[in-house]
């Protein structure tokens, strides 16, 4: 018996969410009185995972797996689950993990609970709290199968240091051509930019910004905060911003520590997707905008005046606190 966690990496480096899911796996392992084992693909410095309580890392080194491939990764993880006799598998809420987890569920005949926000409140029965109804509610879900898959919501559990010594072991899953039936042809990704999924802070603009030519100040605000940029649905529908930035019920969910909404009215579909964020700031010139009811802090004012001032003040703040 053990808890197996899939720790994501990119270009050899662990992603921030890898440390969060590792921390989560350690918490579950403690509850179950067992150890947390990680599986990583082409990652350097695997022993770093010990810092978050991982006692063993199965390290896969395989050039074919340099680009994420859901089926092949799921096959490798399934083998690792069998080898380690893992009964709980932990993944993140990244796009890749959400692609992989249901395949794993099918292969392992395992119940899968996504968007989990806390460590299990009971392990027998295995019950966890997760968001549902696009963040308009929570479900307390019991996973009843022998093997259980838990998808941890971003920024929900946090990173917890928990010193252990991670033993790194090479692991070579047996893969064949069938596992690569879906082939990656081209990856188009903006390098060096914080993505909505990874971001702790998200700066989002709505129709109140009037046009794509005014996004410079949103980007500047994001830059000074080390944040990702996002937008409301009409903004991406009109082509002012790429579809991938659209957040909300039918777009991306945002579970950031800080969400700043500029010129966004706060329609129910938008709020649903962002309400899991911890602190929400709204800048809107209409004091009656519904978003103010869902916000922690608000400025009633013209975005074209407020945002540049905020950028200025944040720069000063950063200079003082550097």
């Amino acid at each position: 018996m053990s808890v197996l966690v899939y720790t994501e990496s990119e270009n050899g480096k662990f992603k921030k969410n890898a440390f969060e899911v590792a921390s989560y796996a350690k918490a579950v392992a403690e509850q179950l009185g067992t150890s947390a084992v990680a599986i990583s693909f082409n990652a350097d410095a695997n022993n770093d995972l010990g810092t978050y309580g991982i006692s063993k890392v199965l390290n896969v080194t395989n050039d074919q797996l340099k680009t994420f491939n859901a089926e092949a990764y799921a096959k490798a993880i399934t083998e690792a689950v069998n080898k380690e006799e893992a009964n709980v598998v932990i993944v993140s809420s990244s796009a890749n993990s959400k692609y992989l987890a249901p395949i794993l569920a099918g292969k392992l005949k395992a119940g899968y609970a996504p968007n989990v926000v806390e460590a299990p409140n009971s392990t027998a029965p295995f019950t966890i709290k997760r968001t549902a109804f696009s963040n308009k509610g929570f479900a307390h879900t019991e996973i009843t199968t022998d093997t259980k898959i838990v998808g941890v919501s971003n920024n929900a559990f946090g990173i917890v240091e928990n010193n252990a010594d991670a033993v790194v072991e090479d692991f070579s899953p047996s893969l064949d051509d069938n596992d690569f039936a879906v082939k990656s042809v081209e990856v188009d990704k903006v390098a060096g930019k914080v993505t909505i999924a990874d971001a702790e802070i998200v700066v989002s603009g709505g129709r109140g910004l009037k046009g794509p030519e005014n996004w410079g100040m949103i980007e500047e605000l994001a830059e000074v905060l080390g944040a990702a940029t996002a937008c409301s649905k009409p903004v991406s529908d009109m082509g002012w911003r790429p579809h991938g930035e659209h957040v909300g019920q039918t777009g991306k969910p945002v579970a950031a520590n800080l969400y700043i909404a500029v010129g966004i009215s706060g329609a129910i579909q938008h709020l649903a997707g962002v309400s899991a964020s911890k602190t929400k700031v709204v800048i809107n010139n209409d004091a009656e905008a519904p978003f103010f009811k869902a916000a922690d802090y608000g400025i009633v004012g013209d975005a074209f005046e407020v945002v540049p001032q905020l950028v200025e003040k944040l720069k000063e703040f950063k200079a003082q606190n550097a």
Binding site: K98, A105, G137
Partner: protein
Amino acid sequence: MKILVCISNVPDTTSKINFTDGDTKFDTNGVQFVINPNDEFGLTRAMWFKEKQGATVHIATVGDASVEPTMRKALAIGADEGIRINAVPTDGFFVAEQLANVVKDGAYDLVIAGRESIDYNGGMVPGILATLTGMNFINTCINLEVEGNTATAIREIDGGKEKVETQLPLVIGGQKGLVEESDLKIPNMRGIMMARKKALNVVEPIDAVKATVDNKFEKPAPKGTVKLVDSADELVALLHNEAKVI
């Protein structure tokens, strides 16, 4: 090409979410049900394949008789035939098993499902379905072309897009982008009349395990009132000292 579009019947996006029976059930009182938005994009893409490439399009839903109005709407949009699997969809794994059974019988080349339903947000049906049927699987699909036996798709990844290629038979988890918002079809009178005559077959569920059970629901704690501030200065101070997020 024979296409199956999986349709989830979900509360309209503006629905207020409430629970009944000691917070163990979703309160459907006064709730309008619609085609899951992610499925609607897929259905419209299927219509494109029907019009341009002569595909046959079936729809399938796991649900009791209450889902039929939503299915009729999908038929009015242009699907040829509907299959209702007569069971209450309590768990994603269960739904995937029911759909997999229909897919095996129907010899479909392409199965289009939504990336996730906006009610339980499980996001697991397309992936489990693909695995159970041995079909290839592409998730978060925002573009799909099929030439002969080869499918080329674009999928959304964190921070960008990935172009992938595979062979039919294929399952996709689709979402916005699969077609433009403006191309979504609203059923017209003729479509609605025709839909009445289309077959809506009811099949009984197979035995399947329920892998998860939602024992209880909860609403988020009510929000305190917003703190309105006058200046950027004040906001920065609050974010640092009070919210501790910068």
